[in-house]
């Protein structure tokens, strides 16, 4: 592991950052919220033209054939911009699930459309009032029919395809569901984060196709480790944006004759956030490299990344608003995008409490370390 991005990865990040600055600046985010719009189509189309949507999809399926590291680089930039595109749902979760658990025939059927951005897909794991790890799942598959309630599901209104986590004969399995069929009902939810729309999906014996290459709780847990790791990069990007927004504001705002940022109470707060961010970023890099190398410790590394990044983003988002003072509470300031997004991401893939259990259980299972006297 060397935790150092390649020149190509650096350029990729710059490219995504420039796209976001051009097509989804804060003013655009405000307009999207006002219009209750679920995404910025223009940004998505540009990403598609540049091949970003197929970054991790094999070339044989119309993608670019890069790996999770590139998804992470893209996600970090999208997190920084609170970018209004379904990249995490479609490219990180759904496409990766199909790539991971689908047969080559299944991959060839669905991935080219996702790589080109012709279709948007999403991933439905959550069930009403259940945690990430709660079992049994109430959504179940019988033959090629799926029945149950999945909610909340991100970007469900944009998606025409959904990979659903369901129970099949007592085992976890993944199935692809076409959302535009009469046995599927999507009800929009009123979300705390107005820039990533969610819906509740009712599956009433809808037609589905099971992803056959991998099933069972072990392999599917590994997929969630990848999701958590990729999401950590989105959180790290958001935390960076919030920290530097606070830094820039406190440097230019004067109070009692000197910059607000010259007060130790402010400097120390920013330094604490920086420390948390640096550790979270290092943990996320460790997790993505562990994943890329197919390492044994991907579970603990992913949980570590998830917990650290969630904490760093929440703190950065809260203190960024705080350091802006009253202006931070206004619609015109940009603090609220991160303040809301940090909460959504803290919950969108299992809470810190759930991941702490996952982490502690995994560590407790490891052999007892030799104890020196």
């Amino acid at each position: 592991m060397n935790f150092t991005p390649t020149e190509e990865q650096r350029l990729l990040g710059d490219q995504v950052r420039a796209l976001c600055e051009e097509h989804a600046p804060p003013q655009t985010l405000r307009e999207l919220i006002t219009d209750n719009a679920p995404w910025r189509r223009e940004l998505w189309d540009h990403m598609g033209e540049l091949g970003l949507l197929g970054a991790a999809i094999p070339e044989s399926c119309g993608g670019v054939g890069l790996g999770p590291m590139e998804l992470a680089v893209i996600n970090r930039e999208l997190g920084r911009a609170v970018a209004p595109v379904p990249f995490f749902s479609s490219c990180c979760m759904a496409a990766e699930a199909i790539r991971f658990a689908g047969t080559s025939e299944q991959q060839a059927r669905w991935l080219p459309d996702l790589a080109a951005g012709r279709r948007v897909a999403t991933f439905a794991w959550a069930e009403p009032s259940a945690t990430l790890t709660a079992r049994p799942l109430t959504t179940s598959i019988d033959g090629n029919r799926i029945r149950g309630a999945k909610t909340p599901v991100p970007d469900a209104a944009l998606a025409s395809l959904c990979v659903a986590l369901a129970d099949r004969g007592g085992k976890d399995c993944l199935a692809v569901v076409e959302l535009d069929q009469p046995e599927v009902e999507r009800k929009p939810l009123n979300g705390f984060d107005q820039l990533r729309h969610h819906a509740a999906i009712e599956l009433r014996g809808a037609q589905c196709e099971v992803l056959q290459a991998k099933s069972g709780s072990g392999p599917i847990r590994a997929l969630f480790d990848e999701f958590a790791t990729l999401l950590a990069f989105e959180q790290v990007g958001g935390a960076e944006a919030a920290l530097y927004m606070a830094r820039d504001y406190t440097l230019q705002r004067y109070i009692f004759g000197r910059p607000l940022g010259s007060y130790q109470a402010v400097k120390h707060k920013l330094a604490d956030i920086l420390a948390a961010l640096e550790l979270a970023h290092a943990n996320a890099l460790c997790a993505i490299e562990t994943l890329a190398m197919g390492g044994r410790d991907s579970r603990t590394a992913a949980a570590t990344a998830r917990i650290g990044a969630t904490g760093a983003y929440e703190t950065a988002a809260r203190e960024n608003l705080q350091l802006h003072g009253g202006i931070g509470f206004t619609w015109e300031a940009n603090c609220h995008f991160h303040y809301r997004r940090a909460r959504l991401l803290a919950l969108s893939l299992g809470s810190v409490e759930v991941w702490s259990d996952i982490l502690i259980d995994a560590l407790a299972e490891t052999a007892s370390p030799p104890r020196a006297a």
Binding site: M1, N2, F3, T4, R247, T250, L251, R258, P259, G261, S262, Q264, V266, K267, H268, L270, A271, D272, L274, A275, E278, L279, A280, A282, N283, L285, C286, A301, A303, T304, I307, G308, G311, V352, E353, W355, S356, D357, L359, I360, L363, A364, T366, S368, P369, P370, R371, A372, A373
Partner: protein, 412 residues
């Protein structure tokens, strides 16, 4: 990590041959240190010096330093290989060795003459002498440049008067690195000069300070009309502050190896196993949600430190130097040490505050006490937070009441 796999095959093979050679030498010469041993302070100092001497004779002391300065004229990779192999043994060392090999030598190499480096390098790397640091004073800690110890030129000598404090292991040191004020009419940072002082010089009195641990690792050192030859001045008159910065940068860099290895006794993983082995309410302490949340948070921080360390190692190896964020390592690890050792006491409830034959609580007590010193020594938490804010984020420096004022016109 980077390094090995990036090397050409020929060099890798050379490294492996060197490693084999080191292993064989250690097997023969470090056998008596294969298990931890108990020493008195004097024994530890004697063993440490003897061990350096033995390494020196075999070409394993200061491996990457030139032979003219008592080194072995080898490469940094060989030095790293030797360190890795030596780490498998419990070879004797103490604070005075690190102060000499790392901190003193960094200052002498960076600011002194070639003759000075050869002379003191040889004495140090041969194990003849160990060092102490005479920097802090009763009224100059985080604000080190406010120090008052005076050195006055007298022909080819300097006459030094003053009081130093927190000089670790000074009572066992042969030589000290000293910073003193040589010009009181210029602003405080500009009037300082750096010296090497023989601790056996007349006029030096070292008094142990009794610490909260009951031990006396630190001392206060009184200097009364101590004579230092001008030949032992390092750098120019007035260059003392720059020398100090070189030393302190080395000290903080050393603190980088802060977090425990995953399987070491103080690691969070070992805490998890301890909690799982502690009976509570018909189950174990690890069943408690509150306990799990704390352990998870600490583990994430500990791993964050380890991963951050790898990341900046890679940057350093790529020639990018150390980023200013390195200051976070001691900041985070000292508090982690404090919190985790408090937890080890908490685990045993009321009994956790008492020694016991079954549990290694004495070590926990010591670590908990020691962590309080870690949060102060080598840059207090508050100083490090300022550094992070100013150097890594570009925040303004502190407003200084003494800025630009000559030292002798300061109001305190």
């Amino acid at each position: 990590m980077t390094g090995a796999e990036a090397l050409p095959v020929g060099e890798r093979a050379q490294d492996e041959r060197y490693r084999e050679q080191v292993r064989a030498w250690l097997a023969e010469n470090a056998a008596e240190y294969s298990e931890p041993r108990e020493y008195s302070e004097a024994e530890l100092v004697a063993h440490s010096k003897a061990w350096i001497c033995r390494k020196h004779q075999a070409g394993y002391s200061a491996i990457a330093e030139p032979t003219s300065a008592g080194g072995a004229g080898g490469t940094a990779r060989q030095a790293a290989i030797f360190d890795q192999e030596e780490a498998h043994y419990h070879t004797p060392t103490f604070t005075g060795v690190g102060i000499g090999f790392d901190m003193t030598m960094a200052a002498v190499k960076g600011h002194g003459t070639r003759e000075q480096y050869d002379r003191f390098g040889t004495l140090t790397h041969r194990g003849d002498i160990t060092w102490c640091q005479l920097f802090s004073e009763p009224a100059a800690g985080s604000d080190l440049a406010a120090l008052r110890t005076r050195a006055v030129k007298d022909g080819d000598n300097w006459i030094v008067n003053g009081q130093k404090v927190w000089s670790s292991w000074a009572h066992h040191a042969d030589w000290g690195i000293l910073i003193a004020r040589t010009d009181p009419v210029v602003p405080k940072h500009n009037g300082l000069t750096f010296f090497l002082v023989d601790m056996k010089s007349p006029g030096i009195e070292v008094r142990p300070i009794r610490q909260i641990t009951g031990k006396s690792d630190f001392n206060e050192t009184f200097l009364t009309d101590v004579v230092i030859p001008d030949a032992n001045r390092i750098g120019a008159e007035g260059e003392g502050w720059a020398c100090c910065m070189t030393v302190l940068a080395t000290e903080r860099n050393r603190a980088r190896s802060g977090p425990a290895d995953a399987d070491s006794p103080g690691s969070v993983l070992s805490l998890i196993h301890r909690a799982a082995a502690t009976a509570r309410d018909g189950g174990t302490a690890l069943d408690s949600r509150a306990v799990r949340a704390k352990l998870a948070r600490w583990y994430v921080r500990e791993q964050g430190l380890a991963n951050f360390g790898r990341r900046i190692d890679a940057q350093e190896q790529a020639g990018d130097g150390l980023p200013p964020t390195v200051a976070l390592v001691k900041l985070v690890s000292a508090t982690l040490l404090q919190e985790t050792n408090a937890f080890l006491m908490d685990l045993d409830e009321y009994a956790g505050a008492f020694s016991s034959d079954e549990a290694d609580r004495e070590d926990v007590f010591f670590q908990y006490l020691w962590s309080s010193a870690m949060r102060i020594a080598g840059g207090a938490d508050e100083v490090l937070l300022n550094q992070l804010a100013e150097r890594a984020l570009g925040m303004p420096g502190e407003m200084r009441a003494d800025k630009g004022l000559p030292f002798n016109e300061l109001p305190y």
